[in-house]
Symmetry: C2
Subunit: 342 residues, 2 copies
Amino acid sequence: VASPTIHDVARAAGVSIATVSRVQRGSAPVGDDRRLRVEAAIAELRYTPSRLGRSLAERRHAALGIVFPDLSGPYFSEVIRGFEAEAAEAKHGVLILSTHGRQAATDLVRDLSARVDGLLVLGRTVPDAVIDQVRRGGVPVVLIARPQVGDADTIRAENRRAAARLAQHLIEHGHRDMAFLGDPGSSPDGAERWTGFVRAHRRAGLTPPAQPIPSLYREQEGYAAARAALSVSSRLTSLFCANDEIALGAYAAAQEAGLAIGPELAISGWDDIPLARHLSPPLTTVHQPMRELGVRGARILTQRITDQGSDGAASPVRAVLTTRLVIRASCGCSPSEGGTAR
Amino acid sequence: VASPTIHDVARAAGVSIATVSRVQRGSAPVGDDRRLRVEAAIAELRYTPSRLGRSLAERRHAALGIVFPDLSGPYFSEVIRGFEAEAAEAKHGVLILSTHGRQAATDLVRDLSARVDGLLVLGRTVPDAVIDQVRRGGVPVVLIARPQVGDADTIRAENRRAAARLAQHLIEHGHRDMAFLGDPGSSPDGAERWTGFVRAHRRAGLTPPAQPIPSLYREQEGYAAARAALSVSSRLTSLFCANDEIALGAYAAAQEAGLAIGPELAISGWDDIPLARHLSPPLTTVHQPMRELGVRGARILTQRITDQGSDGAASPVRAVLTTRLVIRASCGCSPSEGGTAR
DNA sequence: TTGTAAGCGTTATCAT
DNA sequence: ATGATAACGCTTACAA
């Protein structure tokens, strides 16, 4: 049941393998008689060239890889979605790798890097050293939502200004006692949001909280953090959550405490996951162009790959995509005054 | 910047490439002196064997592929999640392909099939003919949520009985005028749910509706279908939705019509997406083991691949995974009496 | 234990 | 226009 090779076709058509290759990929002119015979043989034998043989000869995989922490939640799915679409456009296959916190991630990433022509790395999935190593191996790497490594290309969504605008919006609602739930230490994104949050306070002449309430970016942890925040200060009127999952947990905590979300306790999230608009009240949050992050990542990689021959290394890309405030009801706005601010 | 090859290492260590190969993969004993020299050279040169060269020699890609319609919504993400985890376990890379309704899907799938040792196909993404072709090419295929093709392995989640139990539950709530929103024509899953729905009516001595209200499996379409249903019959007290997205649309339609979901209008979904429990009222639905579907798919594929040498084709797998009713409040149950039925 | 050499299935360079 | 033939980078008999 072994698949036919180029030799089988050549034999069947009574020509050399070079001719078969030419016909099959139209790379050079072939006489009509032979072309016909070859085409017939190809159809007859159901010949498909071996990707492996071809890649080995062409010295390219015609594939891109993407590494992400986990596939739970819509965030990474969306990035992958964009990435895959754009990669397919460029005739690239797509290999995925979820590190899912496993320790062996390093080896898996090395493995993956040996299968692709370019690699997109999301979040804090891979040690810097490994990134360096992969790049030195000649595989272009693009980083998303991750601290920079050397002069690797980086794409991120704007955080600081959006956070400041959101915090300011809350301040204009009259809130004076706000807590920030999240973990600035674990992610550059979180750190920037915290910075924006603080900045808005300063600009309004207010004193921001001294510290964020620490919380991992999951509902469970958000719930715990919100309970903690609420119990510490009874004057708290607003919870600024570093992502929507945390906000979800905050909803639960608020309901448990008998607080009306919106009027009595403002809650905001980040990411604008599909869930957000279906909550009651709908969640005020910040929309990130997740799909676009993936698209851009793939685009930069294909660019780097085609540029690989030419010398004169193009300077590293440092793209910052714009985010969008999505004002809904959970910040205390009435549904009618809600809307979308740039 | 070209990566070092096995020859470079051999030269540096003053040994043959065979010895390098042996050391590198520990496939055969090597004298201590040479082993040390080889290991030193490998470290020195930062040698990583070429996946392409290796795969060509081993005649296997060490990779699995998965084809799905789209990455929007949690359903396919979950399947992929399980698939990836299990594949990684078996040291397989994972290639993804989203057909996203594009017409060129057929070529893309052929392409993909030339890059992997086994393929998982979800939903109605690929024409039967292509599936056959891939299988004849020697690549094992597993089908999920898709009509059977020849004797390819198939995995699905149980539908009929779960649908019947859910419908019966609704009937016990006193509902006599129920509508089924979905598109049995487009998917075997949908067809089976409809069958179960009808069967429950019959068993209770009731007359089921003559036809489902047609709706694609998306919120938008669900909304339209629900409006249509509600306008046709004013006696309608229950909407049995073929998936959660449709139910989401039904929620919107019900709210618009001023109907209290649960008490006045029962709504049920299918899939138990994360959103479901966050709706108000929380959505009664049916939980599918999506992750498990992916895991099983990968497991069967690896099995088929390793069995490929041995003759005596194992008979086709026809796995049916069990589903679970998740009773929440949207069916009219009070939160307290809610719970999970097997 | 170690090395030589024959594949694995292409592409691409050279002659012709 | 066509055909030999040399890579491409590895694994694995087969010899020694």
